[in-house]
């Protein structure tokens, strides 16, 4: 079990009351809990213990959740290298797990573990106390085998935070279960999202969404010619933000100071160089390259991002929800770990760029496919979870 846990909480408090009473929620060590080792998967923070609870941790505690510890994660949560996300949920050691979604990690981790994975809308969950890397794209994701658990957790952790101004002050959102009428619900299939699937993969994906047809939903192909740009935009904008964001991790105070430096400047440089792994380092260097050398191209990427977001909004007039494959299974033959990671996440990054909510649903027991992603317009989180629940319910023979 220790291959899953990075840190085990020695005194799990069992609450007597609260909405989440008795629920075990695992986190990752990039979510601050006062006193817990919070290294965010990086040697740069290997000696860092969080000073205070993240806002979402405060809210979970108040709601009576139990916090068994944190699971092993990739460096600063980018990609799934060395990450154990989802494993504890699969083994039912925990009821749910919170994993930051930078480019689709909780969704792919859920696919790996055959559980549900959810990325909420950007801006509804406080980022205070979350050690992020790509602030404009990331959001706290939830993994669980149970959509009601997911909904209860979302209800608990969402909402404005006086410590995070990026979450707008607004009235409490309604996350309660709503009604879904399949006859009146259109589900769009983005033509271009299937482009890179092999004929076999495409056949399997199309068979996986037969469920919707059987249930009476209206399935419809929609076109998004620039869909493949999501990954490129994510890669450029993400690396630039990451490069700035990781600027503060010099490994001098909370990592290990490199020995043998001649002066403080060299000590900083050497310690920082030794702190990051090669994958993250390549990402940060790429970001610095765009910052210092190709700023205009970064600006282009920002403009394209705006265009992609507005096109995605237009699609909501054509379909209520979108269904997409999760991809990632095929080897891309990419030459660098960074390119390979982006190939692996090619079908999940769109939601990080656009900020919209996505729910990954695993295949029904016995089905051969890899599951699929359901996406809704921004702030449609509650309806998306309702749709997911409707499908799972059908699988269990309900209506």
């Amino acid at each position: 079990m220790d291959s899953i846990f990075w840190y085990k909480n020695p005194d799990v408090a069992a609450a007597k009351s609260g909405e989440l009473k008795g629920l075990k929620i695992l986190i990752q060590p990039n979510i601050s809990v006062a006193g817990w080792p919070t290294e965010a998967g990086s040697k740069a923070l290997i000696n860092f213990k969080a000073l205070e609870d993240a806002t979402i941790v405060q809210k979970l505690r108040q709601a009576g959740a139990e916090m068994p510890g944190s699971s092993r994660m990739s460096e600063f949560g980018l990609g799934l290298q060395d990450s154990q996300a989802g494993e504890a949920v699969r083994q039912k050691i925990t009821d749910a797990e919170l994993v930051l979604d930078l480019m689709g990690e909780p969704r792919l981790a859920a696919a790996r573990a055959s559980v549900c994975g959810f990325k909420p809308s950007y801006g509804i969950i406080s980022q205070f106390g979350l050690i992020g890397l790509i602030p404009s794209m990331e959001c706290c994701g939830i993994l669980s085998g149970n959509l009601k658990t997911m909904r209860d957790i979302l209800k608990t952790i969402a909402g404005p935070d006086e410590r995070d101004f990026s979450v707008p002050e607004e009235k409490t959102r309604d996350f309660s279960l709503s009604q879904i009428d399949p006859q009146k619900t259109t589900i769009g299939i983005i033509k271009e999202a299937k482009k890179d699937l092999s004929p076999d993969q495409e056949r399997i994906f199309l068979s996986s969404i037969e469920e919707f047809k059987k249930a009476g939903f209206c399935l419809k192909e929609v076109s998004f010619p620039e869909f493949e740009l999501f990954s490129l935009v994510h890669n450029m904008v993400g690396s630039v933000e990451a490069s700035s964001c990781a600027g503060r991790y010099d490994s001098v105070r909370y990592g290990q100071r490199a020995p043998g430096a001649k002066n403080w400047n060299e000590m900083y440089l050497k310690s920082r160089e030794a702190a990051f792994g090669p994958f993250l380092k390549s990402y940060l260097i790429q970001g610095a390259y765009f910052q210092f050398e190709k700023y205009e191209e970064f600006e282009d990427a920002c403009r394209i991002r705006a265009r992609l977001v507005s096109k995605m909004q237009q699609l909501t007039s054509e379909a209520d929800f979108l269904v997409l494959p999760v991809s990632g299974q095929a080897s891309s033959g990419a030459v660098t770990p960074l390119a390979e990671t982006y190939a692996q996440f090619a079908l999940t990054t769109f939601a990080n760029v656009s900020g919209q909510p996505v729910l990954y649903l695993p295949p029904a027991p016995g089905a051969v496919h890899a599951g699929f992603q359901l996406a809704g317009p921004r702030l449609s989180d509650a309806r998306l979870l309702t749709l997911g629940g409707y499908i799972l319910n059908l699988r269990q023979g309900g209506r």
Partner: protein, 479 residues
């Protein structure tokens, strides 16, 4: 060849806010090192910035006070550089979408002409930590004080509209006056709450080309700014005449040696949009609300003083530049003191006396009401100027009213001709030589005689009436 200078200024002004810009830490840089810090201004993992509403309002007031146009949409960027005074690797600053654009300040240049150097834009930014380099025995050590990290600043960037050190200095003085009067900053170069960098280039006189500029830093008074610019102009002129190229770099002003020396190549790192601080959207209603909070600006106030109270332009400028002085002046007018008397006595007597006692006008024991009752008696010739100066000293020393002081000390002026008549006759018979001098056309004898009568009255006689009576009497003697 004759050269002219092209000068632009970048002025950092520290906002007078109780807290830092992105956290609730006290904005007190002079406390013990590193006491005013928190996870946000130390940039701990997981901490995020929250823009202070107070900093935004003070910055907005400053912009409006300088005639700038607040932008409906502004945003913070990350100015990327790596140095231990900035542990997060970037400074939050508004590089692409500044808080305001435009604006300018009227000054009178060395030729007496009115000019209005333009402001290009004003943006907000956070200050960085302070590095202290010391020796511990023979070991050099570097210490970082984070009390200054995150202190709210605005940077005022002017157009290259100055042609001389004088103009730059006048602009800075006027800027200081205006920013102080809106209350956004104390704007003191000596205390570091106003820091000025000057960008200087030269070109042949009459040309409109823009040549390579040199940035000069480290001036800690307005005078030093002028000296540093003057030095830099002559240094560059000499270099160009010697056939050397001016290269883009930063120089430091050495106030002791009065020279600038090269510091480093001018830094220009990337500025990328910050994804954490929300974009600032200012509604027209909010901007109007800020505008309504703007006090009357010195220039407008001076104009009003000329129109309303009949002051000269110079007097009006003197009384309106400091809002405390202006308020005091209007207090005196409100009590019924004639404007000319108020102007004269405020400028030549009260302000120097307050300064001499190291007091502030607003908190001095000589309140407008007390001073006004003194000045009104003066205006009505109930006391003379000498007595009034004596009474003023007493007003600083206790809380008696001017009336009480005058009564107790017998300062009341004697204007009654009957009482004065015998005094004058006594003096005239005691000073036959002076009377003779007057008869021989020596005008200064009159002054001497007036002085004698004043002395005989114990300083209480009304000098105006003495002069009239003496002139009359002496006229009749010489005839």
């Amino acid at each position: 060849m004759e050269f002219e200078a092209v000068i632009g200024l970048e002025i950092h002004v520290e906002l007078k806010c109780p807290t830092k810009m992105f956290c609730d830490c006290p904005n007190r840089t002079s406390d013990e090192p590193n006491v005013n810090t928190c996870p946000v201004c130390l940039w701990f993992p997981g901490a995020g910035p929250r823009l202070s509403q107070d900093a935004l309002e003070k910055a907005a007031l400053l912009c409006l006070g300088l005639g700038a146009e607040l932008q409906p949409r502004s945003a913070f960027d990350q100015k990327v550089y790596y140095y231990p005074d900035l542990p997060k690797g970037y400074q939050l600053s508004q590089a692409h979408l500044p808080l305001s654009k435009g604006g300018g300040i009227e000054i009178i240049d060395e030729d007496g002409q009115t000019r209005r150097p333009r402001i290009h834009h004003i943006h907000m930014e956070e200050d960085v930590a302070k590095l202290v380099h010391e020796m511990e025995g023979r070991l050099p050590i570097s210490l970082v004080d984070f009390n200054r990290a995150g202190v709210p600043l605005v940077e005022i960037v002017t157009e290259p509209d100055f042609r001389s050190p004088y103009q730059a200095m006048e602009f800075l003085k006027e800027l200081r006056t205006q920013v102080r009067s809106v209350g956004s900053s104390e704007c003191s170069m000596e205390n570091g709450t106003m820091r000025v960098d000057a960008n200087i280039s030269i070109r042949p006189k009459g040309s409109d080309q823009m040549n390579t500029k040199v940035e000069v830093k480290n001036m800690n008074s307005v005078r030093h700014v002028g000296d540093a610019i003057a030095y830099e102009i002559s240094r560059q002129s000499a270099a160009v005449q010697a056939g050397e190229a001016v290269v883009l770099h930063t120089r430091l002003w050495d106030p002791d040696k009065k020279v600038t020396s090269p510091m480093r190549a001018k830094f220009s790192g990337p500025c990328v949009p910050d994804p954490m601080v929300p974009i600032i959207e200012l509604s027209p209603e909010w901007i109007e609300k800020m505008r309504s909070r703007l006090p009357e600006m010195p220039a407008a106030r001076a104009e009003r003083f000329v129109k309303q109270h009949g002051l000269t332009g110079e007097e009006a400028a003197l009384l309106s530049s400091d809002s405390e002085v202006a308020g005091y002046f209007e207090g005196l007018i409100g009590e019924g003191v004639p404007p000319r008397t108020a102007t004269h006595w405020l400028a030549t007597q009260l302000i120097p006396a307050v300064k001499e006692r190291k007091q502030e006008l607003g908190t001095s024991p000589v309140t407008p009401a007390r001073f006004a009752s003194l000045l009104k008696m003066l205006a009505k010739d109930e006391i003379n100027a000498n007595a009034a100066r004596e009474v003023l000293i007493q007003l600083f020393n206790g809380n008696e009213t001017p009336e009480e002081i005058i009564k107790a000390r017998g300062f009341k002026q004697v204007s009654d001709p009957n009482a004065l008549d015998s005094l004058i006759d006594k003096v005239l018979s005691a000073q036959p030589a002076a009377v003779a001098d007057f008869g021989n056309g020596q005008g200064k004898a009159l002054g001497f005689l007036i002085g004698q009568v004043m002395q005989a009255s114990g300083g209480k006689a009304n000098p105006k009436i003495i002069r009239e009576m003496l002139t009359r009497k002496l006229g009749s003697i010489s005839n």
